[in-house]
Amino acid sequence: MSSDWYLINKPPIYLSGEEYNDNVDGFMQDGLSELLADGTLSSLVDICDSNLNVVAQINAVVQNNLADSVENAKTRQIISSIGSFYSGCYIRHKNELYIVASKPDNNKFYEKAVMKQCNIQLRWQNRKGETISRWCYGSNATKYSSGVDVTKVITTPDLKYNLIIPIDSETIVLQRDKRFLVEDERFSENLRANGINPQAFKLTQTDTKSDSFASVGGILNLTLIEDAFNITTDNVALMIADYFSPTPQPVGNAEITYTGEAIVKLGLSKVFTAVFKDAEGNKINGVIPVWNLSLLPDQENKVTFVTEGDFITISVINDSVLTKSGNNQFVLSLEDENNLYNSELTIEIRGLFG
């Protein structure tokens, strides 16, 4: 009885030593692809962005699952095909969330990186008051101390965390003295029932450089020290320290109105009007429009405008270059001074008789 077998590709024939790349192309990549796709060690993992949106699913080998120390048990190595992940991305593996903590690199065959298991969720508000949430890996930098800072009169908590968190547009603007609430949310109800408040922490160090090498992603190192919980300003229900009501968002819209079509003919002008409306469609008076024209290089100095009140008059000089395909459109954008309302309109340039 024959056994099941197959041939990945023809075997290498070593002749001069210059066939190395052929062998890699012929065997190694096929073998790796097959290992990742069907191998027992391989798993399907989710690559997630900072907001935990799944951006890709890849097959990867996750190593170091069977750790030999408590510290190592929080660390994994991930192997997959080149270009699969980046420093600071999240990886969901076996329903656990990890953060890629090192810059991935490859040996021309496969890519490898170190990842840490996320254990702390930070929540805060950005300047607009929007709630931002990021998972991070935190290690206790004071685990071998008493946990309290004793002075002559008063004893205060002394707990310090070193955190790694992805660099993105929301985390990069975190500043010293930003406060956070942290607790194991599985026990929140029990903690509240026993009159125990969340632990409050204050950001004392933001290191944007040490672990940010890549053009994509990167790691931000933060240091948090325990701070006093403030029942007046800290919102326990939302787990946000120093909570403030978000900036009211506009309920309405901006419109650019005009007569006829959104067309300006060569050598002529056309007037466009800014209209700001509330949620019921009623016109809002007193909003000052801010206009902007996004012009192509060939349109510079040939498309001009003048504003007055709610109106903008756009003029186009008589130059047939402006009617050629690729040059015959520009974008007019409208917003208000506070950037609460905005609108865009694509305007076409046509010949006088077009």
Binding site: V153, I154, T155, T156, P157, A200, N230
Partner: protein, 151 residues
Amino acid sequence: MEAYMAMEEIKMSVCQRLLASENVLKYIVDKKGDIIFENIYPFYRIPSTISDTRTIINMSVNINSIQNSTLFSVMLTIWVICSSQDMKTNDGHIRTDVLAHEITSVLQKCKGTWIGEMELKSNAEGTIDEKYNTRVLQFLLKDIVVDNQCR
């Protein structure tokens, strides 16, 4: 009255007067409740770890000088301790300053086993650590009579 009883009575007297003052209480806690051993400590060092932004008053009473076998003077020291997060009051004052002022107002009128009024000797600003600010008040209580028969 023995000396230690006199000192305890001073502490009780101070606590009672602080608790009776609406102006003092409003700068310590927003809600009324049992604040002895939570916000007002009748001794120098706070025994528990403070992990919130509560405002604290603690005190020590020390015999400053013994005039003779029946009279002595006492130095009452009061620490007004506020979280540096919570220094600004709702009505726009600096919490340690306004609280020290209110306490001084209350205690200077306070009569007890001493002769005359409590005399404010010093009012000094400082910090406990990087998280807590303080203002330290020192009052002199003169000529407390010690009852030899009770010794």
